[in-house]
């Protein structure tokens, strides 16, 4: 716990991007977003919506400091992110990341996957990490799958295990890439409720609120007046405001992400 208290800092802005150009991980010359101005403050819950290939995953990878910005100013915890710099490891461990494909390590079981960051960064044996991992598995209803390798687990549960792995080190900032994509409705409900609890301060994590930034291709499950919304469209990052402003937006792309017809129903009927 001392280590945790040592790394707690008092920054209020956790992510700051100014005029940032985002490229893809595979091709550092291929621009997916231009001139991104985005500020994630402590206590925010951001939902960044976008259609397929709008640059959602790349924005999350960049925000997590996993790839550099092509141009512009980008700061994480008010510092330049340097992925492999040992001096910045503490900063890296303040961020939890869950990518869309979950990407669990196929040679480890679900419990071993979740234990890995804890064991690696605190130099624990598998036995030493057992209690902490077990209680997180119980919290996330993953205990029956603990000893199974990820390829034998359904995608719904793999994503949940990836969330557990991102949370085991109790991060201050959680970055999620399209966390609800392809999930069954029961799991969608669980995720929205659980993330909301994390954001408010879950008792398991000492009641400390977690700042969350997530992407989505469907805005409907995220209805909440206190969340902040933005849209990725045509290489632009467009802030939308809160839920009321999202609902009243006339942009056809926002309507599509809300699964609403892009023109009034009467007009559509008249045309048909």
């Amino acid at each position: 716990m001392n280590e945790n208290s040592n790394i707690e800092k008092s920054e209020n802005v956790l992510i700051e991007m100014r005029g940032v150009t985002v490229t893809t991980m595979r091709d550092s010359g291929f621009v997916v977003l231009e001139n991104v101005d985005w500020q994630v403050a402590r206590g925010d819950f951001w939902m960044v919506a976008g259609q397929q290939h709008s640059g959602k995953s790349d924005l999350i990878l960049l925000a997590a400091g996993l790839m550099p910005a092509m141009t512009g100013e980008f700061q994480l915890f008010e510092k330049d992110p340097q992925t492999f710099d040992e001096k910045h490891l503490e900063q890296r461990l303040r961020i939890g990341v869950v990518l869309e494909a979950a990407q669990l390590f196929s040679h480890l079981t679900i419990a071993e996957n979740i234990a890995l960051p804890l064991r690696y960064h605190k130099n624990l044996t598998a036995f030493d990490a057992t209690n902490e991992v077990k209680s997180l598995l119980d919290l996330m209803e993953l205990s029956p799958l603990a000893d199974i390798t990820p390829t034998n687990v359904a995608a719904n549960w793999r994503r949940r295990a990836a969330l557990a792995r991102a949370l085991i080190l109790k991060p201050e900032l959680l970055l999620l890439d399209n966390p609800l994509a392809g999930l069954a409705s029961r799991h969608v409900f669980w995720w929205v409720r659980f993330l909301d609890q994390l954001w408010r301060g879950h008792e398991f994590f000492g009641g400390k609120p977690v700042t969350i930034a997530a992407t989505t291709d469907d805005l409907r499950p995220w209805q909440n007046a206190r969340r902040k919304f933005a849209l990725l469209h045509e290489k632009k990052f467009i802030p939308l405001g809160n839920w009321n402003e999202v609902e009243s937006a006339s942009d056809p792309v926002v309507k599509e992400l809300l699964a609403l017809p892009s023109e009034p129903a009467e007009t559509a009927v008249e045309k048909s």
């Binding site: 991980m25 996993l66 961020i95 990518l99 669990l104 390590f105 960051p117 130099n123």
Partner: protein
């Protein structure tokens, strides 16, 4: 080649720089990789040692005995088995059995995004994925080379004995021991460790260094194996120069 060299230097740097980091995670991983590239291959190497003894040594001993040239037995065995065939064969077999698995595993992990996941967790992929494989393979090739040489020399005598070659075990091993110098031990150790290190570097480099698509993994595996063999032959050539200079 530049990329390979840089990858080798980075790996050495990580081995030295992070030697005490996450000992409880990396230690078991190194043991696991050493078992995989060493202990687990013992049955196959026992068979190969028997075959090598029969094919090369048994016949050579038999011919030399017929010609009355058993004086040359020691130097022939040392050049053929200890200096050349033993280390090279051990390296190629480990490359075929474990090196290919490295490329496939790492290439698939890269294609599936597991490497980005490690980075996201603040775990250096070079430390977690590469260092145990490199140390495991260097230790594995070294131990298996020693095992293969001893096994082949012993089985070679067995086959020669079965062919009624008039040579006592004492004379046979005395000839070999007399032909061995301290340089042979030192260079054998260096050479087999270098083989293991560089095979691991080549296979890990191809699997991990570039972002791969899942369909590219098989092509990259074939390229890594050919390059691994070329690197082994190149290292072997360097050691021949060392033997000649000594």
């Amino acid at each position: 080649m530049q990329g390979l060299g840089a990858f080798a230097l980075i790996t050495l740097g990580v081995i030295l720089q992070k030697r005490g980091v996450a000992r409880n995670v990396i230690g078991p991983r190194i043991r696991q990789e050493t078992t995989r590239a060493g202990v687990a291959l013992l049955p196959m190497f026992s068979f190969v040692a028997l075959a090598l003894g029969f094919l090369v040594i048994g016949q050579t001993v038999s011919v030399l005995a017929k010609l009355g040239a058993t004086n040359y037995l020691g130097s022939t065995m040392v050049i053929v088995i200890v200096r050349e065939l033993g280390p090279l064969l051990a390296a190629v077999l480990v490359l075929a059995r474990i090196g290919t698995a490295h490329v496939i595993e790492l290439g698939t992990a890269r294609a599936m995004g597991e490497v980005e996941s490690l980075e996201a967790l603040g775990i250096d992929p070079m430390h977690y994925l590469i260092v145990p494989r490199v140390i495991g393979m260097a230790a594995g090739v070294f131990s298996l080379t020693v095992f293969l040489i001893l096994g082949a020399l012993a089985s070679g005598y067995l086959f020669a004995f079965l062919q009624d070659v008039p040579l006592t075990p004492g004379d046979y091993f005395k000839e070999i021991v007399n032909a061995l110098g301290w340089l042979d031990f030192a260079l054998l150790a260096l050479k087999s460790l270098a083989f293991g290190f560089f095979i691991a570097i080549v296979t890990c480099y191809h699997g991990l260094a570039q972002p791969l698509r899942i369909e590219e993994v098989s092509r990259v595996t074939v390229r890594a194996v050919s390059q691994g063999i070329i690197v082994c032959v190149f290292i072997d050539a360097l050691f021949i120069v060392l033997y000649l200079l000594a």
